[in-house]
Symmetry: C2
Subunit: 146 residues, 2 copies
């Protein structure tokens, strides 16, 4: 049995984050020691590793919640898990496309800057006027994290 600190160390997750995951029901309530400290066994360790890994891949906690509940029912079809992963892939692809456009625009901006005064600064100028942009980098959908 591991204390929360050891568990966090093992999984690469900070202690308050583990407590937070428990609080929002992503991890079950931990067993407690005589002195009321949380104790974790191998199952909890695996579950946390799963969460960590999915977070690293950019899945939201909501998606992870769904994936975890799927993984708890090994006899069911994996279509749902597949769909979640595909949605995440699509999300990542769309972010990639957008970031690529941003990169292009920022590069143009930085390269064109001759280093004079603000009055002639391309950075400020381009920011002031979208029509100076080569690509259409406008905010497409809502985007969060990662």
């Amino acid at each position: 049995m591991l204390t929360i600190g050891k568990l966090g160390e093992a999984a690469g997750v900070k202690v308050p984050t583990i407590r937070y995951y428990e609080q929002i029901g992503l991890l079950p309530e931990a067993e407690r020691s005589a002195g009321n400290q949380r104790l974790y066994g191998r199952k909890a360790q695996e579950r946390l590793a799963f969460i960590r890994h999915a977070r690293d891949l950019g899945f939201t906690l909501e998606a992870i919640r769904d994936l975890l509940s799927l993984s708890d029912r090994p006899d069911q079809s994996c279509a749902a898990a597949d769909a979640i992963a595909k949605a995440q892939l699509a999300e990542v692809e769309s972010r990639l496309a957008r970031l690529t456009a941003l990169k292009t625009e920022l590069e143009r901006m930085v390269v064109q800057c001759a280093g004079g005064s603000i009055a002639d600064c391309r950075v400020i100028e381009v920011l002031s006027d979208h029509s100076l942009c080569a690509t259409d980098h406008r905010h497409p959908e809502s985007e969060v994290q990662s």
Copy 2:
């Protein structure tokens, strides 16, 4: 003079967002009509367009605050603006690198899924075990939005 609704429409920014920008001091306090409604002139319109455009390019509000104060002093060197833009470019590049790794991993995951039951699901399996991954996609620094 535009009302807040018209301004938002013109700039592609939602009304509450404009009020929020005013609240955090990114936009100056607007003039008011006799009936206490906000009224905006061309300067405010340009400032909001600048903000919107910079947000679209992924700059944080803090960076935008700096860029705006730079653009208010046209006689100064543009080195600072250049540095902000370069930092943003670096940020975008690092996010791109990470997202590219994520995409690779998610594709592998999705392609390998044979569509059977959860028990044999590659998606779940890979999430359970990082050593099944081809790339090192571990969370490098902190990352936000965009």
